[in-house]
């Protein structure tokens, strides 16, 4: 029994999804490098990131706040 995502369970190719995620972040004011890193890392909840930014949180700080526990905060 496999629990890996299959083609049927995805709503777009990884490249297309990443491109779309990056565009949302850029539009919200994330710099290009941070947007690229967050877009390609599915551990970040973009919805919560964008909500924080909507409320006035600087993008880089939002990324640090929502960084997964296993990510070194010094990198952000």
């Amino acid at each position: 029994m496999s629990f890996r995502p299959t083609a049927a369970g995805r709503s777009g190719t990884p490249a297309a999804v990443e491109r779309w995620r990056r565009a949302q972040l850029l539009e919200a004011g994330f710099d290009a490098q941070l947007a690229r890193r967050l877009a390609e890392d599915g551990r970040w909840d973009l919805h919560r990131l964008l909500e924080l930014v909507d409320r006035g949180c600087p993008p880089a700080l939002a990324a640090r706040i929502l960084a997964p526990l296993e990510v070194d905060p010094q990198r952000w």
Partner: protein, 227 residues
């Protein structure tokens, strides 16, 4: 948060039926451990797979593009349903047969997988242009009604652009105007449907407040345009 048990409205197909005693045995084994638990998980997965196949085949009669991926969608849906059932096992209150309760998860996950499949080869537009949908279609019965509709649609468009935050606007336009399934938006944002529903709820409330502040009542348009 209180977990809510799905309401059993759809009976499992005959092929998936087992006796009430077997239901109880299955539930007990799932709550246990060891080889009996493993066998019960396999049995539950088989049940969910039958349910998912049934639902996918039903959908395929209306959507030919699904036929090529029937088995893939069914397997994926059964896997997701199994994970969901096992995670919520403690919330089962015995108000329906266990297999009926579990079957609901297969229906839900299959519906989600079908919606995602429909968007598999489609890109969500980078620039949402759903506001174009907010134009007068001439559905109102009278000239006065059409003028009222135009005024309201214009106000709604302005309110979406000015009263919502950028992300509220993004989610609202994508889901309600561009018709992107909420599962697809959630998946791409790496979030949950619940989080998006909350945003949609807040956005709609904000729009209602904004329209009310302008002395407009969206329900008036409903009454005018409904035959």
């Amino acid at each position: 948060m209180v977990s809510r048990e799905p309401t059993p409205t759809v009976a499992p197909p005959a092929v998936g039926r087992v006796g009430a005693d077997r239901d109880a045995d299955l539930l007990a084994a799932l709550r246990g451990s060891g080889p009996a638990h493993d066998r019960a998980v396999a049995e539950l997965h088989a049940l969910l797979l039958r349910a998912a196949r049934y639902e996918v085949r039903r959908a395929a009669t209306h959507r030919p593009q699904v036929r090529e991926a029937l088995e893939d969608i069914a397997q994926h849906s059964a896997d997701d349903a199994l994970v969901a059932v096992l995670a919520k096992l403690d919330t089962f209150r015995g108000e329906s047969r266990f297999t009926t309760w579990a079957y609901k998860f297969a229906i839900l996950e299959t519906a989600v997988a079908l919606r995602r499949h429909a968007w598999q080869d489609r890109e969500i537009p980078l620039e949402f242009d759903g506001l174009r949908h907010l134009r007068d279609t001439g559905a109102a019965a009278s000239p006065g009604g059409r003028a009222q509709t135009r005024e309201l649609l214009g106000a709604v468009r302005e309110a979406i652009e000015s009263a919502l935050t950028a992300h509220q606007r993004r989610v609202l336009v994508a889901v309600t105007l561009d018709g992107v399934p909420i599962d697809v938006v959630a998946e791409r944002l790496g979030t949950t449907r619940g989080a998006l529903y909350k945003t949609l709820h807040d956005a709609r409330r904000r729009l209602r407040e904004e329209l009310a502040a302008r002395g407009l009542d969206p329900t008036a348009m409903d009454a005018e345009t409904t035959p």
